[in-house]
């Protein structure tokens, strides 16, 4: 293992669906000699790509969980996280980005910057991950890498600069010209493993020179020495340009762009060189933790192996080897036998085995140093937990976890399935924070919640395959919410005198909608003069909170309500916590009835990419589903239609879209906002709720 941190790269490969991430990763592993044969994603050999280790992934040709793997290239150790492309699994992408230092943004030379790339790019911005771009599929008909570079500018706001130029395009794509060394590269041998460098073809020389100039110009912004060299018109050393490009890339102000076709084995090796040259090593990236002993003050972490351990568990996997915990070590050395503390639970554990993962095979190592990604065995934790050396109390910043928008009732078909189902759910919820489960108190059904139809579908499939659990699923249910639209006063007295000690409590105040910020609930105590004794205030808050889970209107969770209590009364003998909780519940119902409550539904941002001839039909489909079309964007042969559509109307959309566009359109969907539902729909939902209640009873 290379031990210097400068030679470590923790990178992610992220992109739109079907841009060829997994194929690219496969090639990288092959060229770095981690694997000895290439298996294609939907290959005829039936093996499937190495990174898609889960059976389901192989079958569907998509990557669901991000397997972490490592390889070595030119003396550098590269840890790769293969991230899933579908939006439903973005929690995986987010978690990967959290632990990565840099990323390769893969784009399709035909499709260009597609909707998912935009989402992924936003996530990279959030975690300030520097990236380089790889324009894949240059052999496809309609390939136009320079159009994609223009889109990187216009759609993502990247300062994208070509570092290479294609030699031929589409079926004629033969190799790439490196604008740094001004050489042409061809990829020969059965699997393109031999890179032959040659002079630039004469007909492309002039174009290459002008592109090189553009590239150097753009890079000169980051290096005074380079600017001087340009002004003096002296020969420019490659190292000077590389330094400037690297500086720009680390600042996220320069995105070097590389070209190729992973499937045709072209352009992958130069991309690996670029990863080593331009993407940051762990020491280049600032990482901070929160110090729990000092009111969560920020603490800088140094990738120094001799300091106390700080490591983050970013992924759990329950595989053939037992529970495996993927960790990124930020500081210190996570060695066999070291004692670590889980900051969340305070539990002390001794590290048993430390391994390095390569898709589903693994290799034992002695220790994972600062900056490295490794995996631990038999550690009890949830994903997102921080491990530290005893004596320090740091936690990595909490990761952004979106709330689920869709739910599904499941029930096991037989007794055996019952036991396995709970095992499966227990594991899935630990692995994926966006996947949740609970038992509905009224219907006694097990409910699973997640980020989209496909998200839940995949888990149901996994239950079947990995746990042999056959479950019946109900109709997916949308996570509606209730909220109020106007201020309303309440003044409620709870009084009971039925033998024994009585109950007495009066709570008065008002409720109003929360207009700013993201808070779901605010409780403001403005009681003066002790009309409600201080010891009962907490009981009041508890009472109000109890009402939030099920709104009085249609029993959906209540959000966006601010409660202010300003008066009340108590009784020396009969008042109690219980009495005030009951009074608060009564007060809530009283106020809520007057506060003009409404139902909100989740609205999804739906982006459909369709060949232009079907765009009219696609807009019709979206319109039928209560969609509000934001716009239609002409992208040459395709049109991108963007719309906001209620989630409740999106069930089965993929089938309808496929059949009405001859399977040529694809769409992505992500949660956008909650919006009030129209009256007619509210009535329909009320009927459904009533029906459900009846059948449960």
């Amino acid at each position: 293992m290379s031990s210097t941190v400068e030679k470590v790269r923790n990178i992610g490969i992220s992109a739109h669906i079907d841009s060829g991430k997994t194929t690219l990763t496969e090639r990288i592993l092959f060229y770095t000699k981690r694997i000895h044969a290439i298996h294609d994603v939907k290959g005829k050999d039936g093996v499937g790509a190495t990174m898609d280790s889960m059976e389901l992934e192989k079958e569907r040709g998509i990557t669901i969980t991000s397997a972490a793997t490592f390889c070595e290239w030119q003396g550098h150790q590269i840890n790769i996280i293969d991230t899933p492309g579908h939006v439903d699994f973005t929690i995986e992408v987010e978690r990967s980005l959290r632990v990565l230092d840099g990323a390769v943004l893969v784009l399709c030379s035909v499709g260009g910057v597609q909707s998912q790339s935009i989402t992924v790019d936003m996530q990279m911005k959030r975690y300030k991950v520097p990236c380089i771009a790889f324009i894949n599929k240059c052999d496809r008909s309609g390939a136009d890498p320079f159009r994609v570079i223009a889109q990187l500018h216009s759609k993502l706001g990247h300062n994208a600069v070509a570092m290479q130029m294609p030699i031929g395009l589409e079926t004629d794509f033969r190799g790439v010209i490196d604008l740094l060394s001004m050489k042409a590269f061809y990829f020969e041998g059965e699997n393109g493993e031999q890179v032959r460098s040659d002079e630039i073809p004469a007909e492309l020389l002039a174009a290459a020179r002008s592109k090189r100039e553009e590239m150097i110009d753009a890079a000169s912004l980051f290096s005074d020495e380079l600017t001087e060299a340009i002004l003096e018109e002296s020969p420019i050393p490659d190292a000077l340009i590389m330094d400037a490009v690297r500086k720009g890339t680390l600042l996220r102000k320069f995105t070097p762009v590389f070209l190729g076709s992973a499937y045709k084995n072209k352009g992958v090796q130069p991309l690996l060189d670029a990863v080593n040259r331009y993407l940051p090593c762990p020491a280049d990236v600032e990482n901070t933790a929160l110090d729990l002993d000092h009111e969560e003050a920020l603490v800088d972490l140094l990738p120094d192996s001799s300091r106390p351990i700080v490591a983050l568990a970013f992924k759990l996997e329950d595989g053939a080897y037992g529970q495996l915990t993927y960790v990124r070590v930020y500081q210190g050395t996570l060695a066999k036998g070291a004692v670590i503390v889980n900051t969340r639970t305070g539990k002390k554990t001794k590290v048993g085995r430390v391994v390095r993962m390569h898709a589903d095979q693994m290799e034992d190592i002695e220790a994972a140093n600062a900056g490295y990604i490794g995996a631990l065995f038999g550690i009890e934790c949830a994903s997102g937990d921080t491990f530290v050396s005893p004596g320090i109390n740091l936690t990595m910043t909490s990761m952004f976890v979106p709330k689920p928008v869709i739910s599904l009732a499941i029930s096991p078909k037989d007794n055996k399935s019952q036991i396995n189902m709970s095992k499966a759910l227990n594991r899935f919820t630990k692995e994926d924070p966006t996947f949740r489960t609970h038992v509905d108190e009224e219907t006694n059904e097990t409910i699973i919640e997640g980020m989209g139809e496909l998200h839940l579908e995949i888990y149901v499939e996994r239950m079947k395959r990995e746990y042999g659990t056959d479950v019946e699923t109900g109709k997916p249910r949308v996570a509606y919410r209730e909220t109020i639209t106007q201020r309303a006063e309440f003044n409620y007295t709870h009084k009971k005198q039925t033998g024994g000690s009585g109950q007495y409590g009066r709570v008065a105040g008002y409720m109003e909608p929360i207009t700013e910020g993201e808070d779901d609930f605010i409780f403001d105590n403005q009681v003066r003069g002790g009309s409600i004794p201080t010891q009962y205030i907490a009981a009041c808050e508890k009472g109000f909170r109890q009402c939030l889970a099920k709104g009085p209107k249609m029993e959906f969770p209540v959000t966006g309500v601010k409660i202010v209590i300003n008066d009340g009364a108590s009784h020396a003998v009969d008042s109690s916590d219980m009495a005030f909780q009951a009074a608060a519940r009564g007060a809530f119902r009283e106020g809520y009835a007057k506060a003009k409550s409404v139902i909100h539904e989740p609205i999804m941002k739906v982006v459909v990419e369709t060949p232009t001839e079907f765009q009219g039909g696609v807009m019709g489909l979206l319109n039928q589903r209560r969609g509000m079309i934001v716009g239609a964007q002409d992208e040459g042969p395709t049109t991108v239609v963007e719309a906001q559509v209620p989630l409740g109307e999106m069930f089965g959309f993929s089938t309808v879209l496929r059949s009405s566009t001859q399977g040529k359109a694809q769409f992505t969907m992500e949660f956008a906002l909650y919006r009030q539902i129209p009256q007619s729909i509210a009535e329909k939902i009320a009927e459904e709720v009533a029906l459900r209640k009846k059948s449960a009873a």
Binding site: T515, E516, M619
Partner: protein
């Protein structure tokens, strides 16, 4: 309430036109200026004003992607409604949005028959029928005459009016009528031509051609900091 307030505050009324839309159905108008002075901002405000009165606006952009056009609208709207309460603004914004449809084309692939086809896709399925159309980013010269005639016919047929942005260049001298030479060849087709002129710290909105009247002493201005139309100099 907020909606009525915003409509009333609309300083465009000061231009002295009889109808709220300035242009009657079937008419076409143009806003001229150098790059970056505020043509799009002015037209987006006209559009917002229409949307607040429940008129459907089809915004066609030949330069910018949908998201950027959308940003123009949301920024200007929130500036316009800036002094009102957050929740109210948001719900009003949500309610005017369905009155807008953004369509983008690439400059090189934009043709009138293509636009007509897209438009009928929308109207025939009952998805969207615009009463106002904005075409942002078209290049003008004599060769556009037939396109403009076709667009005018389209406006008449669909009972809508169309606004164009016309980018002028500093190096280009103005003709006798005060219009840039390249534009004056087709200027006759327009029912109304406005020009944006930066003067000191403000941008003046001037009527070059058309039937409105600017009351003397109160020029209409565009505030360069917010790009909002205002009726007084600072």
């Amino acid at each position: 309430m907020l909606k009525n307030d915003l409509i009333l505050r609309n300083p465009l009324r000061q231009l002295g036109f009889e109808t709220e839309d300035i242009l009657p159905a079937g008419a076409i108008g143009a806003v001229l200026s150098h790059a970056g002075v505020g043509k799009t901002a002015l037209l987006v405000q006209l559009a917002l004003n229409g949307m607040l009165r429940s008129q459907n606006v089809l915004h066609i952009s030949l330069n910018d992607p949908v998201n950027k056009v959308n940003l123009w609208y949301s920024e200007l709207f929130h500036h316009l409604a800036g002094r009102y309460e957050g929740a109210q603004i948001n719900s009003l914004w949500e309610s005017v949005l369905p009155h807008r449809f953004i369509m983008t084309f690439r400059v090189e692939s934009f043709t009138v028959p293509k636009l007509e086809e897209r438009l009928s896709d929308l109207t025939e399925q009952g998805i969207f029928s615009p009463t106002m159309m904005i075409i942002d980013g078209l290049h003008f010269d004599e060769s556009r005459r037939s396109d403009l005639n076709a667009l005018k016919a389209l406006a008449v047929k669909n009972g809508m009016h169309i606004w164009f942005t016309v980018r002028t260049h500093r190096h280009e001298s103005a003709g006798l009528d005060g219009l840039p030479v390249s534009f004056s060849a087709v200027a006759g087709l327009f029912d109304l031509v406005l020009e944006l002129q930066p003067e000191r710290a403000d941008v003046h909105i001037k009527l070059l051609r058309g039937s409105g009247s600017t009351p003397a002493g109160s020029p209409l201005l565009l505030d360069p900091s917010t790009m909002l139309i205002k009726d007084k100099e600072l």
